[in-house]
């Protein structure tokens, strides 16, 4: 099991063919109190970089891009009632969606945790 990060402040946790995607602690802090999350429905297909979800905070509304290509196997329905999970546990229970990877090679282009930490430190 390994975790990857993007410059859009998303994290990707890969287990076999399934990737779980959410936004990082840094992104959560930048957004402030999250009030609404729109997650994609099962079966939707995304190419890397497609808009996959929407997250709204009291400050802004942002799109969440799919960091990798694949087919949605599950959206985190709990967020509809508890959007605050994105603030309290962004890299755990506050995950957005799980998708089945269509091209594992795309993962090579993402950052590992150390690289992401350095990326954030330099912002």
């Amino acid at each position: 099991m390994s975790r990857y990060f993007t410059e859009e402040h998303e994290w990707v946790e890969v287990e076999g063919k399934i990737a779980t995607v959410g936004i990082t602690e840094y992104a959560q802090q930048q957004l402030g109190d999250v009030v609404f999350v729109d997650v994609p429905a099962e079966g939707k297909q995304f190419d890397k970089g497609d808009e996959a979800a929407v997250v709204e905070s009291v400050k802004a509304a942002s799109d969440v891009y799919s960091p990798i290509s694949g087919t949605i196997v599950e959206g985190n329905e709990v967020l509809a009632d508890e959007p605050g999970l994105v603030n309290s546990d962004p890299e755990g229970d506050g995950w957005f969606f799980k998708l089945e990877l269509s091209d594992e090679a795309e993962l090579d282009a993402l950052m590992d945790e150390a690289a992401y930490k350095k990326f954030v430190a330099d912002l």
């Binding site: 609404f36 709204e56 802004a60 509304a61």
Partner: protein
């Protein structure tokens, strides 16, 4: 300091950019015969103010004014009595505001009024939530079709043949740019609506079914079965109400299951005003509120725990979401919404029901009298304050002849559907509380003479 933002060079550059040869080219959509080619006829380039006023009054007096004659025109705009208190109250200084008066720090009065308006509209339409108003009924209708596309991710809208043709026209114009497919045909002169046909047409590509209630011919039908069939196929039911007063007597579309209910609010508080400005009503189910267009005012508590009002769910809107906003509307019909709200407040629920009752009773009286004119048939099996007559000859010429006799006797279907020969004998007649028994008798007698 004089502020002259543009010179002729700037204008030429702008025209060249958009490919227009002259400023006049920007108006070619207006039929040539309707364009003013020189100064106003009979008015010299220089004249004293009093002479100009007299001349303009003489021109205006060529109009046959709704309030001066027996008046039976409707088809989307209705003459109702607006109490003088409405106009008095909307002009009070407290309601005078700067443009876009939505800042909670300085506009609690306006925001509270919008909140009250939304509450009234939501209750009238039978919806969980209503917005702070749209431009008019037709644009509200189009916005509802777009909203259904976003929710269902499908792009074929079934428009009932009973939907006002001007609303269809607005939807067609907008669909040219969004790519929505609109399925529509002209109505036929039958007592039944096309609800059964619509149910048969719904498929997995249908984003929504749009049905008018009462429809363009004045017909009223239960929407419950249509709502169920539409929703069972994963599509939305949009109901359109062009005569808001009807909902003082009829079961609301929301109660019958419609997902989105839109309407024209002109009937309450707003006069005919040569066709505008009017006020669009827009309500929907709570679960769709994040896809709703327009301004939405919410009630909240301030830092001291006191009740206050703010615009809410603004992330739907253009100033936050840019091109991903639910709509490009960033305003509302503030003054007309205020007039609507004050008129509704003066009436109260009981008053609205009473007004609706008077409308229906007068319409029944008129329908019975007009049906007795030899050769005239009443189409409707049911109606509120508007019904369709089938005349033995072209209704358009009869309406013209009635106008010459100073009676405005309804809207001919030939005017609304110039391409449809089958509808030429149809005449849509609206009867509100402003009609008197004498008006009805004058209409019937003259119609009888013209048909003899």
């Amino acid at each position: 300091m004089r502020y002259l933002p543009l010179n002729n060079q700037d204008r030429s550059a702008m025209l060249a950019t958009i490919g227009a040869a002259s400023i006049d080219d920007l108006f070619i959509d207006i039929p040539e015969e309707a364009r003013l080619t020189g100064p106003i006829h009979g008015l010299p380039m220089h004249a004293p103010e009093m002479a100009v006023e007299r001349h303009m009054k003489a021109l205006a007096s060529q109009n046959l004014v709704a309030g001066d004659v027996p008046f039976f025109m409707g088809a989307g705009a209705y003459r109702h009595h607006v109490p003088a208190s409405v106009d008095h109250l909307i002009q009070r200084g407290e309601f005078l505001t700067a443009y876009t008066p939505y800042q909670p720090e300085i506009a609690q009065g306006t925001l509270q009024m919008l909140f009250e308006f939304q509450t009234q509209v939501a209750r009238l339409l039978g919806c969980d939530v209503a917005n702070a108003s749209m431009y008019d009924g037709s644009t509200a209708c189009w916005e509802a079709i777009g909203m259904a596309r976003r929710i269902t991710k499908r792009a074929t809208a079934l428009l009932s043949s009973g939907l006002h043709p001007h609303y269809v026209g607005v939807a067609k114009t907008m669909a040219r740019f969004t790519g929505d497919a609109l399925v529509h045909q002209a109505p036929s002169l039958k007592p039944e609506t096309d609800i059964a046909d619509l149910i048969g047409q719904i498929d997995k590509n249908t984003s929504c079914v749009v049905v008018q209630y009462p429809d363009i011919l004045g017909r009223v039908e239960d929407l419950s079965a249509l709502a169920q069939a539409t929703q069972a196929a994963g599509a939305l039911l949009i109901a359109v109400v062009t005569e808001a007063v009807a909902l003082g007597a009829l079961r609301s579309p929301g109660e019958m299951g419609a997902d989105i209910v839109v309407g024209e609010g002109q009937s309450l508080g707003v006069g005919l005003q040569f066709g505008g400005p009017y006020v669009g009503l827009f309500g929907c189910k709570q679960k769709y509120v994040r896809q709703m267009p327009g301004r939405l005012c919410g009630e909240t508590l301030d830092a001291e725990g006191k009740r206050g009002f703010v615009l809410t769910l603004s992330t739907r809107e253009q100033h936050i979401r840019r091109e991903k906003a639910t709509s490009n509307i960033c305003t509302n019909s503030g003054l007309c919404a205020l007039a609507f709200s004050i008129h509704m407040t003066l009436l109260g629920e009981k008053g609205l029901r009473g007004l609706a009752e008077v409308n229906h009773a007068m319409a029944v009286t008129a329908a019975e009298r007009l049906e007795n004119v030899p050769g005239v048939k009443l189409l409707n099996a049911s109606f509120f304050n508007e019904f369709t007559l089938v005349l033995p000859k072209d209704a358009r010429t009869i309406v013209r002849a009635l106008a010459d006799r100073r009676i405005l006797g309804g809207v001919s279907l030939g005017r609304l559907y110039p391409e449809e020969a089958d509808l030429a004998n149809g005449l849509v007649v609206a009867v509100t509380e402003t009609a008197t028994l004498e008006d009805i008798e004058a209409f019937a007698t003259n119609l009888e003479e013209l048909l003899a």
